[in-house]
């Protein structure tokens, strides 16, 4: 079941399955990953390496680095990545965990 999201998607698109922290999640193929995760109800993308504070997307244009997630083992900005089938996404979990 799709979790309740603060965001609404205007158009329906064909979906593909990605893994988020090991759990399958269906997202629109080719969509901006950060936007797709928000629409899927994911609010917290990571915990900061400094204090463990929760963060989500802020600028959506590749400038703020708040939407950092680990994708197939590399920490990247979710807002600069497009959804493709089989992406393995992991949310960094705070002090001592991955960052750029």
């Amino acid at each position: 079941m799709k979790p309740a999201s603060p965001f609404l998607e205007l158009h329906d698109c064909p979906r593909v399955t990605v893994l988020l922290d090991g759990q399958p999640l269906d997202l629109p193929e080719g969509a901006n990953l950060a936007a797709a995760l928000l629409a899927a109800g994911v609010e917290v993308f990571r915990k900061t390496p400094v204090s463990g504070a929760p963060r989500g997307p802020f600028c959506m244009m590749g400038a703020c680095f708040d939407c950092l997630v680990e994708i197939d083992g590399v920490v990247r900005q979710a807002c600069m990545v497009e959804v493709t089938a089989g992406l393995e996404v992991r949310k960094p979990d705070g002090v001592g965990d991955a960052t750029v």
Binding site: A31, E43, S51, V100
Partner: protein, 468 residues
């Protein structure tokens, strides 16, 4: 290494117009852009989206297709998803694409890197669910993703634009919490002549406000004591307006109090910047055609001072003409002939700015945040910490890095730099120009060792990633 007559960084209105103009005069142009499709932030993904959501986004957005159509021609190599991280000697430009480093070189470089949202550090602004208004608009433009329960906070025309677009899309914001006051509007009155010259912008503003009012979106003006509340994410906004304390429950907050030039690339090249009192930010010092103090480096568009998309397009053309002349593709006369009407059009586009800048000034509480407010999002440094560094003799932002790592995280000061300058200037009783800004060095964006190790063969040709 592949060498071009002109490298343009950024495929927004300034970059696209400049590329088209330069190619028209026979220059070989490489257009490097971070996004997968041309448009910049203002026309983000316009080719794909115009037919889907053009009715919501309006003709000012769909008009961007005119520019994207202009770059699909011979003479322009459009490298998409290229994250530029260094521009060095001989204008060798290093960038990452598809997880690999790559380089091109150019005789001249035009920086068309546009604007960033002015940092708006208010209590709670780092909570998930709090985003820039620009981010809200990008979600709508590129992805058709809309916030169901959003409050828009701050000041300026962009706030009205996104509110009007949300109304059209059927999810009006819960409220507009606006920080400008009636006194600001009265002060703006002295710029009324310019406002009248730029009447088309005024008319658009009036129409947007009418749409917002018709949808019965509450507007609270002169808002102060703004705090975003929430446990682990945004849950409500508190503020005072009209002498009354208010609280609105919401899960999304869009912040905006103007945009400022993205100066990172220019600063890394030693371009001189000055403080603009009118726009409360640093701007590069430019001549009439976008030339800087560094020979061969030009700047056009909002990165040279905020004036909007139409002005950016014109400034891009003016800069391209100048480059064409320097490169020997145009005589001075031919350039003048073409540039003169463009310069007049640019002045016209800029006419309404002083009125708008005065009527919608930055939010005072965010320019001088309370001590407990985090101002450096990456390293989680508070305003109070910056003030305490000043008390210990810290005069400038570079010194502040040594005191507490502010500006040293991955965003490299993009969302704290102006705040750090403001706080040090205020505490030390010095001007922003005296206080200065972070020294920006390459890499301009983080680059991994893997990307460096995978650096392409320097003799390899860059591929044209465009769909044209």
């Amino acid at each position: 290494m592949q060498r071009f007559d002109l490298a343009i960084i950024g495929a927004g209105p300034a970059g696209m117009a400049a590329a088209q103009e330069a190619a028209t005069h026979g220059l070989r142009v490489v257009l490097l852009d971070e996004q997968a499709r041309a448009g910049g932030q203002i026309y983000r993904d316009v080719d794909r989206v115009a037919d889907l959501r053009g009715d919501i986004l309006g003709p000012d957005y769909t008009d961007g297709r005119r520019l994207t159509a202009g770059i699909g021609r011979d003479g322009i190599t459009h490298v998409t998803e290229a994250v530029v991280w260094a521009i060095e000697e001989d204008f060798v430009i290093s960038f990452t694409k598809d997880g690999k480093g790559a380089q091109v070189a150019a005789d001249r470089v035009l920086l068309a890197t546009g604007a960033l949202e002015r940092p708006m550090p208010l209590p709670g602004w780092t909570l998930p669910g709090v985003m820039t208004a620009g981010a809200g608009q990008i979600l709508l433009k590129q992805s058709g993703v809309l916030a169901r329960h959003a409050v828009l906070v701050g000041s300026g025309p962009l706030l009205y634009l996104i509110a009007a677009q949300m109304v059209r899309a059927g999810t009006p914001p819960l409220a507009l919490v606006e920080t400008q006051t009636k006194a600001d509007l009265a002060r703006a009155g002295r710029h009324i002549t310019g406002a009248l010259r730029g009447w088309s912008y005024m008319l658009k503003g009036v129409k947007m406000l009418a749409e917002i009012t018709r949808a019965r979106v509450p507007r609270y003006t002169g808002a102060t004591q703004i705090t975003i509340e929430g446990e682990g994410k945004a849950e409500a906004i508190r503020f005072t307006s009209g002498g009354k304390a208010r609280r609105i429950a919401c899960d999304t907050v869009f912040l905006h109090h103007g945009v400022v030039p993205n100066t990172q690339a220019g600063r890394s090249l030693g371009v001189t910047h000055r403080w603009s009192t009118e726009q409360s930010c640093f701007v590069p010092v430019l001549d009439a055609s976008g030339g800087t103090n560094v020979p061969g480096i030009f700047i056009a568009g909002d990165g040279g001072g905020i004036a909007g998309a139409k002005a950016a397009e014109i400034a891009g053309r003016i800069a391209a003409l100048r480059v064409a002349e320097e490169a020997g593709h145009l005589t001075q006369n031919a350039r003048d002939q073409r540039a003169t009407p463009l310069l007049a059009a640019l002045a016209h586009e800029r006419a309404a700015r002083p009125f708008l800048d005065t009527a919608y000034p930055p939010c005072a509480e965010a320019l001088g945040p309370a001590d407990a407010t985090v101002i450096c999002r990456c390293e989680e440094v508070t305003a109070g910490a910056i003030r305490s560094y000043a008390g210990l003799g810290c005069l400038g932002p570079n010194q502040a890095k040594a005191f507490g790592r502010t500006g040293m995280g991955p965003c490299q000061g993009r969302y704290c730099g102006l705040t750090v300058t403001a706080l040090l200037a205020e505490t030390n009783g010095r001007t922003p120009d005296e206080t200065g800004y972070f020294r920006i060095r390459p890499p301009l964006k983080p680059v991994t060792l893997g990307e460096l190790a995978a650096m392409a063969d320097p003799d390899a040709k860059v591929s044209d990633g465009s769909d044209h």
